[in-house]
Symmetry: C2
Subunit: 336 residues, 2 copies
Amino acid sequence: MTNYNAQQIHLKSRPKGLPTQDNFEIVEVELTPPQKNEVLVQNLYMSVDPYMRGRMRAEGVYAEPYALNQPMYGGAVGEVIESNNENLQKGDIVLNGGAWQDKLIATADTLTKLTPFDKNRLSLYLGTLGMPGMTAYVGLFKFGEPKKGETVFVSAASGAVGANVCQIAKQLGCRVIGSVGSDEKAQWLLDECKVDEVINYKACGDLTQALAKAAPNGVDVYFENVGGSHLEATLNVMNHFGRVAACGMISTYNNSEPAPGPNNLMLIVGKKVRINGFIVFDHNDMRAQFLSDMESWVKDRKIVVRETVVEGLDNSVDAFLALFSGDNFGKMIVKM
Amino acid sequence: MTNYNAQQIHLKSRPKGLPTQDNFEIVEVELTPPQKNEVLVQNLYMSVDPYMRGRMRAEGVYAEPYALNQPMYGGAVGEVIESNNENLQKGDIVLNGGAWQDKLIATADTLTKLTPFDKNRLSLYLGTLGMPGMTAYVGLFKFGEPKKGETVFVSAASGAVGANVCQIAKQLGCRVIGSVGSDEKAQWLLDECKVDEVINYKACGDLTQALAKAAPNGVDVYFENVGGSHLEATLNVMNHFGRVAACGMISTYNNSEPAPGPNNLMLIVGKKVRINGFIVFDHNDMRAQFLSDMESWVKDRKIVVRETVVEGLDNSVDAFLALFSGDNFGKMIVKM
């Protein structure tokens, strides 16, 4: 007999500032067995990502806000355990939007069947081969447009997106500078990702000076994950006709009151800078190329992957909160 | 006998905050008669523009800083009164870089011979048919990219650049909203430039609310001349995939200490906004098209021109300072 009991993490109240465990609750439900074209999925891995913080606000930043007292959602990889759809079989591995749930009923058209290049590395499809990896790929190629020999600066450089940006840019022949918040992350970027310079922004003192030293030829492309003082410092050091691929501004996500922005935005004019905000979901036309390139780079070890894996849905809130404390390292994954 | 006595305005000291008369001095010089390929020009009109404030800093924002105790420079229209170059004749009207001087010696290759469409309106070549007009044209077409039916918001909308942006956008079939600092300017924009809505930012209370009311369908294109709270309000009201043509940020030019920027830059990401800083001098490839379009629009009265004309080089500093007090109206011109 199939077991239709599932666990879900619900948003119980909207966080003010940094979320706490009290904003969430774990709920046991019994799912309705799948109807026509529906599938029962057992999730194996789920993703927690910084963008989810935006969805916890009443007014969504990136996308629809999460409803209160409903399961939250996001990227997950699972296995089909019961199918009422002819294209999906028991045992198929599917990318789905049912994060924060260990099991879910989903209509077949919301699932992407994966052909994993390594069945022991399914979590890659939530990171380097998934949304964060594609965010890196789209942001860098479409909006950063780095040329060989140019200097690329990446904030949150050891993160799920940033580490991929760094390694793609290195392959393109760029000088790559990463900013991180710990010496351990800095060392990994230097040793494993082969970036040219790393700044520990918590220890470097004046960030503009540190960046100017790391980028003696100026910054041509800035991959923006952080905002605030990182953007201000980058504009100070940016070259004329520099490009900013604005992917996120994690420094602002937990502000209960909006914090003032950089004081030097006039440099955007004087240096003829282009800034593109973007969200990966608008760029599905690049998905096939991304997956083809990235899978081959991962296979060839041209791109290395670092994950922090937390076990159990009941630890998913802790995993999420670690994204903002800097305690995570690489892509944060929850293994069910 | 040709008179080689000339008057020049020199930058005597670098202003801190708002410039004062004390930062400048008027100097009498005797010019060296023109050598081979040189020309003696009697200026008829000179331009004062907000960008010149940037050049008064020790570190240039747009361009090379002005040297101390040297004549400042900028756009001017003059008449050739003595020529040692075969392509320029006595009586020719030339656009030159010798603002802040009533007479100057210039090499022929620094001069652009004009074929004025109306000899009584030579000052147009410093405004609508000159640098500010081309700034409007380049910024709107190349970076704003408005489509018919979209909403275009223009700050400093009655200014030398802004009034042209408004009127070009109206011709493209856009809904145009201008922001100005006086009711008189607002009325002129409504009556003469036929913009759809005007906000007097000094009287409107909360700018975001005022803009949201004036732009019920949101803002698609923002032509940025002001910065600060104008940019913040616009981001609040901007539509997804909105474009910002960042031409200047006059609210910041006289800050002796940098002021904090907008507190909502994360909206650049969430709304997938593109911001392009630009400077007109990089886009000379569009000059012929600009001049052809703009001259025909002015002739057909599709674009109306408002100027404030101040008489005499000795009043040029006052004319320049009026740019920052909001006392000017339209393009500020000094008639020699």
